[in-house]
């Protein structure tokens, strides 16, 4: 009876912890190439893991069914060790891990290094050209570099260009374009993460960390995420959003927002002047 219960609960554990890892429960993918790679890598590791787990549990349950004291049976076997077997599983385990490491290596470069923007990406990038390009993508081509700054409890995004262009909370990006991010933090450590776009990275005061994503044409939409490093009392409310639009829409959004920011700046200057004239101080 106990045994049946053990088997049943193992089955439940398996189903819950492993079996249910159907597509619904693999890492988010479909936003950026990087996230898809992570998903593939995860599945490979998971299959290896399931095999190992089944071997361990199989041996355990087999021993339990066949060699319970209650069932009688022969005396305990006098096995103290078995050098070939011990060497075998040491080498075997090491080999599996070597294979996993190699596979990871193959994917790692893809995940680290941004690809160039596609031909259907942001066409005229003159106004977004950025001088700060320490990691040019392999194969040349331009990218859009956005500076992401975290502070308690909001994200700010600064886009390249001579005129100031920035937004808070919602990042607007063109599809088909490689977007590289310089992630910073003003006060404490924050962590930039949009699950569907992959590439989590901490914003660390005093450091500039880099990541990237590239949303293909046709995948326009809103991608949500939130700060992933405990950053204080309202950490749970530090959300972020990436709105992917076509390059054309992006250009018009950028123009509109630049004008808005300029307008707001002029309004503020005027207001200051007026208050100064009226004898108020800041």
């Amino acid at each position: 009876m106990l045994l049946a219960a053990l088997a049943a609960s193992l089955l439940v554990a398996l189903v819950v912890a492993q079996g249910a890892f159907a597509d619904a429960f693999t890492p988010e993918s479909g936003g950026s190439q990087q996230a898809d790679d992570i998903d593939t890598l995860y599945k490979i590791t998971l299959y290896v893991a399931i095999v190992i787990f089944l071997i361990v549990e199989g041996t355990l349950i087999w021993s339990l069914t066949r060699h319970r004291h209650r069932r009688g049976g022969p005396e305990a076997a006098q096995i103290r060790g078995n050098t070939p077997l011990e060497l075998g599983w040491t080498v075997g385990a090491a080999l599996i891990l070597v294979v996993l490491t190699v596979i990871t290596f193959v994917y790692l470069d893809d995940i680290k290094n941004p690809p160039p923007s596609g031909p259907d990406g942001l066409a005229s990038q003159a106004q977004f050209a950025s001088l700060d390009q320490p990691n040019p993508p392999a194969g040349g081509g331009q990218t859009l570099n956005i500076v992401v700054s975290g502070r308690q409890y909001v994200w700010r995004y600064d886009y390249p260009g001579d005129e100031p262009l920035y937004s808070f909370y919602e990042m607007v990006v063109p599809t088909g374009t490689t977007v590289t991010l310089d992630v910073k933090a003003a006060d404490v450590i924050h962590s930039w993460w949009i699950p569907k776009l992959g590439g989590k990275v901490d914003g660390v005061p005093g450091h500039v960390n880099k990541t990237w994503f590239k949303i293909p044409r046709g995948r326009e939409g809103v991608y949500r995420g939130q700060c992933a490093e405990l950053c204080g009392a309202n950490h749970a409310d530090m959300r972020a959003e990436v709105r992917a639009v076509t390059p054309e829409e992006f250009t018009s959004w950028a123009d509109r927002t630049r004008t808005d920011i300029q307008q707001a700046g002029q309004d503020l200057a005027k207001q200051r002047e007026r208050r100064l004239r009226e004898g108020e101080t800041d």
Binding site: A13, A20, L64, R68, Q78, A93, K200, E229, L230, G232
Partner: protein, 637 residues
Amino acid sequence: MTFAQRLTAPGWYRAALGTALMFAFGGALVVGVRALYGWDPLFNWDAIITVGALIAAPFGYLVGIGCFDYWFYWASGRPTRPEDHSGHGARSWKDYFRVNTDHKVIGIQYIVTTMFFFIAGGLMAMLMRAELAQPGTQFVDPNTFNGLFSVHASLMIFLFIIPVFAGIANFVIPLMIGAPDMAFPRLNALSFWMLPIAGVMMLASFFVEGGAFATGWTAYAPLSTETPLGQQFFTVGVQFAGASSIATALNFLVTIITMRAPGMTFWRMPLLVWANFTTSLLVVIATPFIAGSQFFVLLDRSLGTHFFTPGAGGDVLMYQHVFWFYSHPAVYIMMLPGFGIISEVISTNARKPVFGYRMMAFSLVAIVILGFTVWAHHMFVSGMFSWLRVPMMITTMLIAVPTGIKIFSWLATLWRGVIHLRTPMLFALGFITMFTLGGISGIMLAVVPFDIHVSDTYFIVAHIHYVLFGGSVFTIFAGIYHWFPKMTGRMYDETLGKLHFWLSFIFFNLTFGPMHLVGIDGMPRRVADYAEQYATWNAIISISAFIFGASFLIFLYNMIASWRHGPAAAANPWRAHSIEWQVSSPPPIFNFDEIPTVVGGPYEYGTPGAVHAVFKEKAPAQVPAPAGGGGAPPPTE
């Protein structure tokens, strides 16, 4: 005793007096210095609490309770009271509340104290699960929630898992190696009495302005240098837990190296002794690093240094490097003693020698060494030098090899044995299953890109609980059930024990299994509120968690009731071979009337007439059994 005598004799009255006096002294020091410099305000309560309550008062308590009496007498040239061993043994429950140098009393003091903090930390977990049962804010505000998980983790790690293993080892190790006590009994007592200081500080942090420390048990700078006063309670508390840990580890090292019974070579030591030997090495080498990291934070907070201020030459990532250089080995500090317990329990209950004894010992040593080479795998998303990720990934994968050897060897020990499915054995087998799952998710986490995806998500929460609860805590339960007859002289209730196992095994998996899924799905950890899409799983997790938590009450009842009214235990109810089972239950006050002589390996189950140790020189074992391991052919089949 008159009241004045009570205040001068070692004990709780003098401890209260000492605490008060030292608090006053520390406070006066702060006020005095501030007055000299003419600083305003004169009464800076943050400083007074830090110096008076957190640093000075604990020493007053330690002196008062009597930890330093002997050394003070000796140092000041006064006649020390000759050690008449009157402090040995516990005659009533009150003796457990006094400074006692008997390793068996200290072991039980450790176990009971840590159980108290285990319950406190567990209640916090229940409160968190109540809050997380549905999205939104129901029971606690976000800051309190952050405090809850921070204190929960700190108590579980520093006040439960690490010290409870020290407690079990304190009781068992000297008996196992045939020693009359630990090498340094007074240091042993001091180690124990430092421990509650850390726990009380962490709990007390809830009552100061700004609430408990809320930066996680990791206390990452610069968040930890900017949060309210509660943080200091962690920063200083950890120092006391750490000092206690280091002192105990030194004690174990010296005891194991110098006090083994005649004939007990290193290759005849039970694996629990090996496990505590290697754990102690880890503690002694690694623990100073967390002390250092917390001192940096303390100095940044209290004295205005800039270890973690980027603008002033400090570096934020340095904190993480130093912190994890301790805290990754700490994972093994919390696991290796459990490995030792499992080897004892499985071998005894399968009636077979431990498979590959020498490899089991070597793999412990390998874990100690490799354990120091993987710390930065906690920092894959931190933006440290990106080349460092690759070596860290490889070493992290490598450490699965010695761990795998251990799991396979336990399975091979079960293979063709005669398995007695008693409660400790159930927990040991449950441990193998849970720990394999935790190990597998650990390998997945070593894969850098996957780690980047699940860092700081519930996948991590699931992984750590599979390793630390399904792993460590299951071994602790196995160990406590296994040695309960030896410690108390009474038998526990087997039916309740099995019920406890099945409930905790099933509901542990229902609680933490789904966390893998929500983590992969993108739910970050350490949040009081979460998106609607995770609501169903979280409701299921919370319900399982409550049943899981309630299953502990069965254990608690079993332990208390059996200790008081359980049937008397025989000296060796499990027919085990190691030395602690060859003396009465509970053992005599001085352990052995006669020092045993070790004549063979500790796991010669099934070899007729084989014994591990004899108590009389004249009667050596008939069969000189091989010293375990190495594939030696059995004398009889």
